[in-house]
Symmetry: C2
Subunit: 105 residues, 2 copies
DNA sequence: CGCCTGTGCAACTCAATAGTTGCACTGCGG
DNA sequence: CCGCAGTGCAACTATTGAGTTGCACAGGCG
């Protein structure tokens, strides 16, 4: 189970810059320095974001020689989506019941 | 289309207190004052959180007499989940292709 | 071996936000 | 009609987090 607790994952996904990083990583694995060349922030800022993303399991480091490249863990995104969907479905169900009661059905 | 842009929704969901509010609203619609009785924060703090949740469409206000009760919009949770799942699936697909290439298949 | 690239750690600034207190307004109920 | 419960607005504090600069360290490569 790679799944981190739900809330921190959402917190991690609640930042535009981190989505930029994820998008850039979608073009292929890259190191913090490489990403710094493509994004309008410093390498250190990216390193911090990568640390956050790694902590919630959205990204994982891969040592390549003396570099540290990062890869997106798509499964974690899917897992988070499923859990969120389950919650949403639960609420829909409850609202449906309330509606039925209200309509006297 | 009630869907707000994706990132702010995640930012809204990246806070424990807001999940507490959503959970409390899951027991039935409630006003800010009513929620303040159940949660360890002041009514004003809750009002701010409700404003945030409303802005991203996760919650909607319902005037009941002179009160303003709030209801969870489960559909927005589901919609967010679907969009996130689509992104996750896309990443899985890409990683699959990369893996195939790497394995010389 | 010596350099240059990439990484890691630390201190600092600045903006955003969670939370508070305080006050003013409104509208239903006795 | 008066009071009280509920709401809204505003100012303030404090903490978190994004971003920066600066420096120290490590490991390939010429």
């Amino acid at each position: 189970m790679t799944s981190a607790t739900l809330v921190p994952v959402f917190a991690a996904l609640g930042d535009e810059t981190r989505w930029s990083i994820l998008a850039a990583l979608g073009e292929g694995d890259a190191s913090a320095s490489a990403l710094a060349g493509r994004l309008p922030v410093t390498r250190q800022a990216i390193a911090k974001h990568l640390a956050v993303l790694q902590q919630v399991g959205l990204v994982e480091p891969v040592r390549v020689g003396r570099e540290v490249q990062y890869r997106v863990v798509g499964a974690e995104l899917s897992a988070t989506a499923r859990r969120l969907d389950a919650i949403g479905a639960e609420w829909d169900r409850r609202l449906g019941i309330i509606k039925e009661i209200a309509e006297g059905l």
